[in-house]
Symmetry: C2
């Protein structure tokens, strides 16, 4: 977090470094005063690294509260670590900051980032702040530990495995719909909005799935599109029963319980639930119980390619990017 | 490099992942097909991590060639690793892409990134591509190895150490002046522009300085401002002789050899040379010779605070951010 990286706003950036320093308690972060951080290694483990950028107007809304922008940026990266079975070590933040965001905004953002880091026991290790003439852009790189060889890949699904998903899907899509005012809120609106703004990385579940899941990822593009990634990477077909796809009561109250509503939820994206395959359903349920997260089996892995969704009256046509109901 | 992260441009992003996949030959990169990468650990070593964001119009110019934008983004991050004495392990790229940049631009960018990665034997390990309504924004996170405890900090300078800098300073400032046409080129223009667009990370020198340098950083803000960082972090005063600050022949031809020219060069920034302190000048010269890089002593570390620049007729007034000549 070099306070003078950007020649245009040096004194403000020194203040920003001070704002973020309390988030950087790990010894290797050097209080954000150095050019780089040291991440200690752990015997028998390797480092898992993921990076995700979030852009205002693309991944969050310009008038989202700074606390939830911080929460989402950190949580979607932790969600990637969760899906890989990794235990977070820390994260780096590259912040490109429009001039209109003042110290009050930044203070709230740092507070949100700090609270979320504490909630998941993941320290800020370093970063970079620069000005931008464009929209607020956050790139977070998160690091975690897994035992050597234990990272859960996308490519390990095998014919005969069950297909599982944690929590419920579509809630974030409902929340986004409320926020963009295409349809105003109502009962359950707050829950759905919080699922859009503040996803829950399934870190305990991911770790419990080491050695249990054969393939896993977190649902960001939409359940169907993400299962398609597993099918592609694993060279298998994934067959899902529409009726088993889990929708929350607030979303069912809003979108209904038809197959169209279920497919809409399964293609909405931004869920950050874990979708995974595993041969032993009882081991999955034990892992879910240990992690305190609901998990349901929604389908099976078959020979072939792509994703098939089975409805009441046969297969539904589902493309990679969306769906057509007939 | 999730090809479908951004719902607005999924098919283009799948193409982008294909463009970048050849850069990701490391086993732990999984051909950019997974959510995360695995960075192997190395016995007796720890991981050094740095991140720097570059924004169009702030850190590079909108009409810079895509190859040199890629080169600079990677090299400034490698330069941070160099300053810390680290050996690069790989890097991650978060790319926020305006719609106007087409596949031809991206192909050239990927080619530049690949060529520079090869030049420094550093693989792409993963990344993320998203669209942005704003300027091109690149956040690179670079990882490297150092023996446990061997990272060269900013905070180790001790009274009596010599103060050193590699190469020459101010060249990038001259190059930027040419590119922004405040003053057209001339003899040596190409050299100065290349120093702005394509800095050289002093990786071999940085490694050779392990156990030799007591404090180090790479010059990005300007030599004086960066020495100020070392003085602050180390709790010392750094005293520099203006006449010893190394300027290249092309820059001397352009800006002259007055003390004003020297101070201008020492506050221009973007040099990505190493500035460091060390108690043993002969060990420094041996390290420089081993690395094949010119290094000169420009001053000494004293008790006190801040940076003092000594001119022909006494101390020059130099502030943290710039300078006043009297």
């Amino acid at each position: 977090m070099d306070p003078n990286m950007d020649p245009n706003r040096p004194s403000e950036f020194a203040l920003i470094a001070k704002l973020f320093a309390p988030l950087a308690q790990a010894p290797g972060a050097f209080g954000l005063s150095d050019d780089a951080a040291v991440v200690p290694t752990r015997a028998g483990h390797e480092i898992v690294v993921t990076t995700d950028a979030l852009v205002e107007g693309v991944h969050f809304l310009a008038d989202d509260p700074p606390e939830t922008i911080a929460a989402k940026a950190l949580r979607v990266n932790l969600s990637d670590l969760a899906a890989k079975g990794a235990e977070p070590a820390g994260y780096f933040l590259a912040l490109s900051l429009p001039a209109r965001l003042d110290m009050a905004w930044l203070t709230a953002f740092a507070r949100g980032l700090g609270a979320n880091g504490e909630a998941f026991a993941v320290p800020l290790l370093g970063g970079d702040t620069t000005s931008t003439p464009g929209p607020l852009t956050l790139a977070i790189t998160a690091l975690g530990y897994v035992p050597v060889g234990a990272m859960i890949r996308r490519s390990g699904a095998r014919v005969g495995d069950g297909v599982f998903v944690s929590g419920t899907v579509g809630d974030a899509g409902g929340g986004l719909e409320i926020l963009t005012a295409r349809r105003p809120g109502g009962e359950g609106a707050q829950y759905l909005v919080s699922r859009y703004r503040c996803p829950t990385p399934r870190l305990r579940l991911g770790r419990a799935l080491r050695g249990v899941a054969t393939a896993a990822l977190d649902v960001s593009d939409g359940l169907i599109a993400d299962l398609w990634h597993i099918a592609d990477c694993s060279g298998v077909r994934i067959c899902v029963e529409a009726a088993r796809i889990p929708l929350s009561p607030p979303l069912r109250a809003r979108w209904g319980e038809t197959e169209a509503a279920i497919l809409r939820a399964a293609t909405a994206g931004d869920d950050y639930e874990l979708a995974f395959t595993a041969p032993d359903a009882s081991a999955v349920l034990a892992a879910a119980a240990a992690a305190g997260v609901g998990v349901v089996q929604i389908g099976t892995v078959e020979a072939g390619a792509g994703v098939v969704v089975v409805g009441k009256n046969g297969n539904l046509t589902v493309s990679r990017a969306g769906y057509t109901h007939f």
